[in-house]
């Protein structure tokens, strides 16, 4: 009797497992889209132009410009398998002054439960040296990239923040941080491309007929904080790759996935 019971229990457990997995398979099939929203934050507060914040150095500051490139998205499953989004689709300039630029929709992703999102802050070195036929869309130096391109040292500015601060000793109390540098063409130079891997608090369920939304927080003040606290009084202007490396190293913990909406 006992034996029968346990056999029954095993049977029940197996069938439950089977039904769950078959259910999952039914649920996530084919291909689907995912929407990534890069929500600019200032610590715990929402980020906005004209609002006064205090940086980690204790200096008051107000932003007038925030623009940065993200590209080369990769979605990763629990087992470590990766889906590399076709590169052409991934170059996006997020511009605080352009509503909608923070929302990135990636199409045709194979169904599955993804747990990590990987991307580059900036533009990869290969693309940074390609001919102009490969510089369309957000990479067009006569278009969206107009303010994000160094003409004298051909390459993109990856991350740009500007504003004013009483701590700045520059004319108009301005600060300008232009972070670029793809590593050099024939001579290795400062490489300020940074790869960010974010772990999602819950699985991102992608499949046919679904459109999950991944809400990413980008804490702009954090880019001035860890591991190196930036003081505007000490450094108000950065527009060369080497000095920008400190800032690029600060990206590491400025992004996080706050939440995911699965349907």
């Amino acid at each position: 009797m006992k034996n029968t019971k346990s056999i029954f229990a095993v049977f029940m457990a197996l069938s439950a497992l089977f039904s769950v997995s078959s259910c999952k398979k039914d649920k996530l099939k084919g291909k689907g889209t995912v929407k990534l929203t890069f929500d600019s934050r200032a610590g715990n507060a929402n980020f906005a132009y004209g609002t006064e914040y205090t940086n980690a150095a204790g200096e008051k500051l107000t932003f007038t410009k925030l623009q940065y490139y993200v590209s080369n998205f990769v979605l990763i499953k629990e087992d470590g398998s990766e889906y590399v989004v076709p590169q052409e689709l991934t170059y996006r300039l997020i511009d605080e002054g352009v509503a909608g630029s923070e929302v990135i929709t990636l199409p045709d992703i194979p169904a599955g439960e993804y747990t990590k999102v990987k991307f580059i802050v900036g533009v990869d070195s290969l693309r940074s040296t390609m001919d102009v036929s490969k510089r369309t869309g957000d990479l067009d130096p006569a278009g969206k990239a107009a303010d994000m391109y160094w003409s004298w040292n051909s390459g993109y500015i990856f991350f740009k923040i500007e504003g004013t601060s009483p701590a700045s000793t520059r004319t108009g109390n301005v600060f300008m941080y232009h972070i670029g540098g793809y590593g050099g063409y024939s001579t290795p130079t400062a490489n300020n491309i940074r790869t960010i891997t974010l772990t999602s608090p819950n699985a991102i369920e992608i499949g046919e007929g679904r459109a999950p939304e991944v809400h990413i927080y980008a804490d702009i003040l954090e880019s001035l904080k860890t591991p190196t606290t930036i003081s505007i009084a000490n450094t108000a202007v950065v527009h060369m790759p080497m000095a920008a490396t400190t800032f690029a190293n600060n990206y590491a913990d400025m992004f996080k996935i706050d939440h995911v909406h699965n349907e």
Partner: protein, 350 residues
């Protein structure tokens, strides 16, 4: 039968003959003006990726118009051709440094625009890694044309002369930054200088012979100069400190791009072609004559920590050169002047 349509009256026949002649003339003209990029037999393989932007006649003509277009500057006074003049092998002959917009002076000598397809790093400091992206630098430079590139493209869009030219070159009238840059690349890539006396001798054309002095000069250049001025392009397209100065506070050269101390005072090796038309010489235009240049290498080289190893062999600064050797080298350098190139009407402002 009398008025059979197959038979022409005399005037009609003459008319047809005349029309046929016209057509054939036209054809000949077209053939003559057709633009084709060709690799000279004595040159290495080009570095430009022609598969994404092949040179076409219409693209070249659009590029030429843009090259001579002053609207690409803030106040419509300066074009690319202002400082890159065709009969000076596309330099600003006679100017140590060029005067750009509002007569502002730069800090560097305008380099020749020639054989661009064989280079993948441009400017004296190599800051530009793609020919297509090059024109943005002088257009935006505050001492050159001082105009945001996006605005430059907008001005071209607003000029009614251009839509048909873009259509001819690219299939539609749409004017974009990438198309504008591609057209300029097509024009620049056609600026191939490979028809000097030396080239003809090297390729065995027209029975051209070098004189004894020229030949001696050739061997001297191979022996004493070719570590930098290599191949038939006469440049290694690399960066060297050739001892013009001992400090580089005004212009750190390559280090401005790499920010590396070992690159301070290094500048891209210029070609030895067309020197007759491109004086003054060096990145800052500091030498007016070839004699001064050779005197510099013989006894004027200044030491600094990044000085090229070839210029301080065996603890001696510079390259030992006798007066006779200098003369012979100059005789050879004169065989690199390509008159056909500087007088090519296709390359001049139309």
């Amino acid at each position: 039968m009398k008025n059979s349509p197959a038979q022409f009256s005399k005037p009609a026949f003459l008319f047809v003959l005349f029309a046929a002649l016209l057509v054939s003339c036209r054809k000949e003209k077209n053939i003559k003006e057709e633009i084709r990029f060709e690799i000279p037999a004595n040159f290495p393989a080009p570095k430009y990726n022609f598969s994404s932007n092949p040179v076409t006649t219409a693209g070249f003509e659009l590029g030429r118009k843009l090259f001579y277009e002053p609207q690409l500057s803030r106040d419509n006074t300066i074009s690319c051709g202002s400082c890159h003049i065709s009969f000076s092998a596309f330099t600003h002959h006679g100017h140590a440094v060029s005067h750009g917009i509002d007569n502002r002076l730069g800090i560097r000598n305008a380099p020749p625009v020639m054989n661009t397809a064989w280079s993948d790093e441009f400017m004296w400091d190599g800051g530009i890694n793609q020919l297509d992206m090059l024109p943005i630098a002088p257009i935006e430079n505050p001492v050159e044309m001082d105009l945001e590139f996006a605005i430059a493209v907008q001005k071209i869009k607003n000029n009614p002369a251009y839509p048909p030219l873009f259509k001819a070159a690219f299939g539609t009238e749409e004017i974009t930054g990438p198309r504008l840059l591609q057209a300029l690349s097509q024009f620049m890539n056609m600026l191939v200088s490979a028809n000097a006396k030396y080239d003809k001798w090297k390729r065995g054309e027209d029975n051209v012979q070098l004189t004894a002095d020229e030949l001696d000069g050739y061997h001297l250049v191979q022996q004493k100069c070719a570590s930098c001025h290599s191949t038939d392009l006469f440049t290694d397209n690399k960066f060297h400190n050739n001892g013009i100065r001992s400090t580089f506070t005004i212009d750190s050269g390559r280090a401005h791009i790499t920010q590396l101390p070992q690159d301070v005072g290094k500048f891209k090796t210029p070609s030895l072609r067309n020197l007759k038309y491109t004086a003054p010489y060096m990145h800052d235009g500091s030498f007016a004559t070839l004699e001064q240049v050779l005197d510099h290498y013989a006894q004027g080289v200044k030491y600094s920590p990044t000085l090229d190893a070839e210029l301080q062999k065996n603890g001696i600064l510079g390259i030992p050169l006798t007066a006779i050797e200098k003369q012979k080298i100059i005789a050879f350098l004169n065989t690199l002047n390509d008159e056909k190139f500087v007088k090519d009407r296709r390359f001049a402002e139309q």
